[in-house]
Amino acid sequence: MGEKKREFWRWTEYNWHNPDVNPKDAEAITGGVDVGAVSTQAVIMTDGALYALASMRTGSDSPDSARNAMNWAMEDSGLAIDDLHYTVGTGYGRVNVPFAQRAITEIACHARGANFIYGPSVRTVLDMGGQDCKAIHCDEKGKVTAFLMNDKCAAGTGRGMEVFADLLSVPIEEMGDMSLDVEKEPPMVSSTCVVFAKSEAVGLLREGWPKSKVLAAYHAAMAHRVVNLLDRIGMEKEFAITGGISKNTGIVTRLKRELGVEPLATEYDAQIAGAIGAALFAQDLLLKQRNEI
């Protein structure tokens, strides 16, 4: 009685800033805030270099989420929101970032952010977010040249993974590795709809399937669905994955298998690509504004 139920879907929220940089020395302090359906990332860049970031769950109020994430990114930095010279909002809550001067879509921002994180050779970006998936083509400057979205359901997205984490009582950050802990890939769950897939998974558990096998069946189906999206737009090398699902080894490994292409690796957290892209756009817009003055 009274014991708090463990929430397996919860992923690690964190913040970081570069202690070796004094942001007040910078000529341009720009912000990027990616208010997604599931998570919010705030990034601060000083003269085009990553200075600070925060990644946290999106609350029920987008302006609050944006403000909280940016304040957390600024923790111990001596900065306040008013110190930002220019801020761009992105993500589904992009128009609800109260301190942003512009809103730019997450499609443009993820392409730009992937260009920063993975380098100018990136031509195909797969953004696997909380609520939808996007396959994006971009040029050497990170400008979008084509895109496709799966925005009709939660299949292959962070939200779907969260549902499965709670269903199976497996911490979300362990799901990917656990899904690979099978001797042989089981048949994929037949439905890509999260609601139906959940029902199917319950049936499989009742049949005695271990959690790892159920997860393998779900991860394989999700990866396959995303491959279909990439097939439609066409795969151009180099290939990079952004968004929260980029951290899921079960999906990434299966994507590699199906596509026969190794995604680019990075030391950055690819979940912040959208916010980085937004901060880079903010830098461009700030310079443009200053030149016009």
């Binding site: 730019i104 879509t105 499609i107 400008k143 979205m149 925005d151």
Partner: protein, 337 residues
């Protein structure tokens, strides 16, 4: 008053019988449950909503229902109404030919004559050729103003322009002419020039979509919409009223529901892109609209070959404009800017 379903029908014939046509494009965002009970799940929301609207009493003010055979779903709706629903109003189907050659015109003349007989029986009137010609000329004048508004669309914002020209769906010709004259008298452009795009599809619903385009920095410079640009009926020449009505109805820009070949549609789209210096084409389709969806892949391939980017958005008229649709439009405009 006649409730008229999409797309092509002889306005002048109805008006000659003193019947005012009110078009029913959906309507959008209504409870479609009553309609869904009679239709397969793959029938589009224009047909489903229209049936729901009728069954919920929305068309009680009308005396007639005209169902042109634009597609299989509309033809099916006509049959369901006549055979099963049997509404209080007379239901007049209109079978349109798939082509615009001489034999197609001949066929349509016969259809229009049959419709004349049906209208005559319903209204107890029998307008002569002079009355028919007067009605035709009034509609031709309204259509000339409509074409002129399309030419001078820059006087209005995208949203205001489509609100204005869609008044043709319910206003009598003389009312529309008055409205058009007022707008055409206005000087200069009032809108802010945005990223030029061509809009293709059936109907721009929800209309807030057009505001979203403007807010995202876009501007529709030409359209290939079934309810708008595909209904720029040319003035007729024949002295025979039935031939004149038939020639006008079949003289429109390429339209898949009239059997236009894809090559003609592509050429038309590319022509609009060139003339309007558009940077891309947005295909805005109603889910399950077969005539649109059959052509779509080839049209997009053709545009791509010509270096014209395009975007497809599918909507259900029962739903509000989704965040995802807005994101797609904004991202497309960012891409082509």
């Amino acid at each position: 008053m006649a409730a008229v379903l999409p797309i092509h029908y002889p306005r002048s014939l109805l008006r000659a019988f003193n019947v005012l046509p009110i078009e029913v494009w959906g309507p959008p965002q209504i409870d479609a449950g009553l309609g869904a009970a009679h239709l397969q799940a793959y029938v589009c929301s224009i047909v489903r909503n229209a049936l729901a609207f009728l069954l919920s009493g929305g068309l009680e003010v009308t005396d007639l229902i005209v169902v042109p055979h634009a597609c299989d779903s509309l033809q099916g709706l006509g049959s369901i109404l006549i055979d099963f629903i049997q509404p209080r109003q007379d239901v007049l189907p209109l079978y349109l030919p798939r082509g615009n050659g001489e034999r197609h015109i001949g066929y349509l003349i016969d259809e229009l004559r049959a419709m004349y007989e049906r209208l005559s029986k319903t209204t107890q009137r029998a307008p002569g050729d002079d009355e028919l010609m007067a009605s035709i000329q009034r509609e031709e004048t309204a259509d000339e103003f409509l074409a002129e508004l399309h030419q001078q669309r820059g006087k209005l914002t995208t949203y205001d322009f489509y609100r204005l020209i869609r008044a043709r769906e319910y206003l009598p010709a003389e009312g529309f002419i008055e409205l058009a004259q007022d707008i055409l008298k206005q000087q200069g452009a009032s809108r802010t020039a945005g990223i030029p795009i061509v809009f293709s599809g059936i109907v721009p619903e929800p209309m807030s979509l057009l505001q979203s385009i403007t807010e995202a920095g876009g501007e529709v410079v030409a359209d290939d919409l079934a309810c708008c640009g595909r209904r720029l009926y040319p003035p007729g020449t024949s002295k025979d009223p039935f031939r004149r009505m038939a020639e006008r109805l079949l003289g429109v820009p390429p339209d898949p529901t009239l059997g236009s070949p894809i090559s003609a549609r592509l050429e038309h789209l590319l022509g609009m892109v060139k003339k309007g210096e558009a940077k891309g084409v947005v295909f805005y389709s109603v889910k399950f609209c077969e005539p649109e969806l059959f052509d779509l892949p080839m049209l997009r391939d053709g545009l791509q070959e010509a270096g014209v980017p395009s975007l497809t958005i599918e909507v259900d008229l029962s739903d509000p404009l989704s965040h995802q649709a807005r994101t797609r439009i904004e991202a497309f405009l960012e891409m082509i800017a």
